[in-house]
């Protein structure tokens, strides 16, 4: 019998027996969460089921991040509904301004080897710490909250091996955009992606979380990074080193596919409207004039991302015809960026900085696009109609591309301004 993949090991631990890809099992869930867009329906499902309490309230979180703060009375009422239910049940409330669910989960809650379910597709961000973290709908998460369990099919694994030194101006965002362009938006549907190789080993947890976050954009269930020394350093920095454990796939595990990427050949990469797999290298793109630049989100709103963007903007002024919006991923990121002068750099350059949260990405507030407008965003997704008017155009790129674009007013190669 062959060895086990990381996914098989984690799922096996949570159902009390050895499992292999393809089996359908019931697992214990370590952490469940919802956000303000999916949470109200989750609570209504719990009420319909007749279970108005959490199996483990200390391991259940309601995040108010999609409308932060609420721009409409309907959403204010949704927020009150969630706050009230959290109060009654002892569920943890992460209120407006605390930050995006996926990033705050990395900072405070996710542990290597956990099973995490969230009512948000980008829950797979937790894979950056080696947690089997996956997005589900409101009803599935209602069951996970109420019973502490969910069912799942053990996924086959695609091993993505990235080797070589990343060239100047090329980042983890370019790795994942390149991968999705290569395998397409449903190239990994139902599969686990597991990332390995010396490039990955050299990435920070923040950079890994950009990749893990976008695993779902290839259809994957999870995007896993075997926890290593970097994971331990991150957890220590967050004051919870005790959560660390080592965990990896066996040498002889059965991987369904092995995808190799040479990092040295990568270039700044852009996803063009209206699908994430519609990628081009910056050299292939041609001239694209931009109305709005948006830096933030669960994909690229971390301190490291803000530092990269600020280093390009420092001492410069943004293009007079371009709006630049910066939304830190969490209160912690916001505070650190305030203290180290990063926020000052943005504001001096002519950008505006908003409350931590999902920001403009979800099309609810803080930078909704109008008819025909073009946006370059660091977010994970560019579907038609996502950020407001259905006739707007969304391009995706790294924080460095975003900052370079902010200076020139058209989508630009960061290597030319660094």
């Amino acid at each position: 019998m062959g060895g086990k993949t990381l996914s098989e090991k984690i799922i096996g631990e949570h159902c009390g027996r050895d499992v292999s890809a393809g089996e359908v099992v019931v697992v214990n869930v370590d952490l469940s969460y919802v956000q303000d867009g999916t949470g109200p329906l989750t609570v209504r499902r719990m009420i319909e089921m007749g279970i108005e309490k959490a199996h483990n309230p200390d391991k259940t979180i309601f995040y108010l991040d999609h409308a932060s703060p609420s721009p409409r009375m309907e959403l204010s009422n949704d927020h009150e509904f969630l706050r009230d239910f959290a109060r009654k049940t002892g569920i943890i409330l992460s209120d407006i301004g605390n930050g995006i669910s996926h990033h705050v989960t990395l900072e405070k809650y996710a542990r290597p080897g956990d099973i995490i379910v969230g009512a948000d597709s980008h829950t797979c961000t937790g894979g950056a710490l080696g947690a089997f973290a996956t997005g589900m709908g409101s009803t599935d998460v209602a069951v996970a909250i109420a019973l502490g369990k969910t069912w799942m099919r053990v996924p086959e694994t695609y091993l993505v091996e990235v080797n070589g030194r990343l060239p100047k101006g090329v980042y983890s965002k370019d790795i994942i955009l390149h991968l999705i362009g290569k395998i397409t938006s449903n190239g990994a549907t139902y599969k686990a992606l597991e990332f390995t190789g010396d490039t990955i080993a050299g990435l920070s947890t923040a950079a890994r979380s950009t990749i893990g976050n976008m695993a779902v954009e290839a259809g994957a269930k999870v995007g896993l990074f075997p926890p290593d020394g970097e994971t331990r350093i991150f957890l220590k920095l967050m004051g919870r080193e005790e959560a660390f454990r080592e965990l990896r796939s066996d040498e002889d595990a059965d991987f369904e596919k092995h995808i190799e990427i040479n990092a040295e050949e990568l270039e700044p990469t852009i996803a063009c409207p209206h699908l994430v797999d519609n990628t081009k290298t910056i050299g292939e793109l041609g001239k694209v004039k931009v109305d709005q630049v948006f830096i933030g989100t669960s994909c690229n709103g971390r301190l490291e991302d803000l530092h990269i963007a600020a280093s390009i903007l420092k001492g410069n002024r943004i293009n007079r015809d371009t709006r630049v919006i910066v939304t830190p991923a969490s209160r912690r990121v916001y505070l650190e960026a305030l203290r180290d002068g990063t926020i000052e750099t943005f504001v001096e350059a002519g950008a505006l900085v908003t409350t931590p949260g999902c920001g403009a990405c979800d099309g609810v507030h803080l930078g909704i696009l109008g008819d025909g407008e073009v946006c370059l965003a660091t977010q994970p997704r560019n579907f038609k109609g996502r950020m407001g008017d259905p006739n707007a155009f969304i391009y995706l790129g790294s924080p460095a591309v975003a900052a370079a674009t902010a200076l020139t007013g058209e989508i630009s190669d960061p290597r030319e301004v660094m």
């Binding site: 999916t38 007749g50 999609h66 597709s121 709908g137 209602a142 069912w151 259809g219 579907f383």
Partner: protein, 162 residues
């Protein structure tokens, strides 16, 4: 029997339940007035009870918003037929009791009259006199769908045994 509404590949949840109506998520009948607006603006107005959504690859990619399949069901759609589904959307359909059928949809044209037989795994295209077979759902999903969705399943069984 109901008629087919054809859609292409990669119909995202942002096309099914656009973010600009985010504030209507706790008012599902209102949200349903905009169902699939991003892909076919006339759909919500003209769809009739018992009709079918018929699409290509990767239907429902994107967000986990269960509101997307819920509003497809609210307007009376009998089932969604697609060549393939995005993972979260597929699970959401079954959980809310909306059949999501993976099958070859190439031969179904706009407004064809369709009849669905879940037990036999057959879609009959009355307009063309053709039958399309489809594989059964995974057993656990089939049971959840048979019992009317995951809420009903949990109420019936008082636990999550599969």
């Amino acid at each position: 029997m109901g008629k087919a509404w054809k859609f292409g590949d990669n119909i995202s949840t942002d096309l099914i339940a656009p973010g600009r109506y985010f504030h209507l998520r706790s008012n599902l009948p209102e949200l349903a007035k905009h169902v699939l607006e991003g892909a076919r603006p006339e759909f919500a107005l003209l769809v009739q009870n018992g009709d079918f959504v018929v699409a290509g690859e990767n239907f429902g990619l994107g967000s986990s918003r269960e509101h997307a399949p819920v509003i497809i069901r609210i307007v009376g759609v009998k089932a969604v037929l697609a060549k393939s589904f995005a993972r979260i959307f597929y699970r959401n359909c079954i959980n809310i009791g909306l059949p999501a059928i993976t099958c070859n949809t190439d031969e179904i044209d706009e407004r064809n009259e369709l009849l669905l037989d879940m037990e036999r795994g057959v879609i009959t295209n009355k307009t063309k006199g053709e039958e399309i077979t489809f594989p059964p759902l995974p057993p656990v999903m089939n049971r959840i769908l048979q019992e009317g969705g995951l809420v009903a399943y949990i109420k019936n069984h008082k636990s999550l045994e599969i």
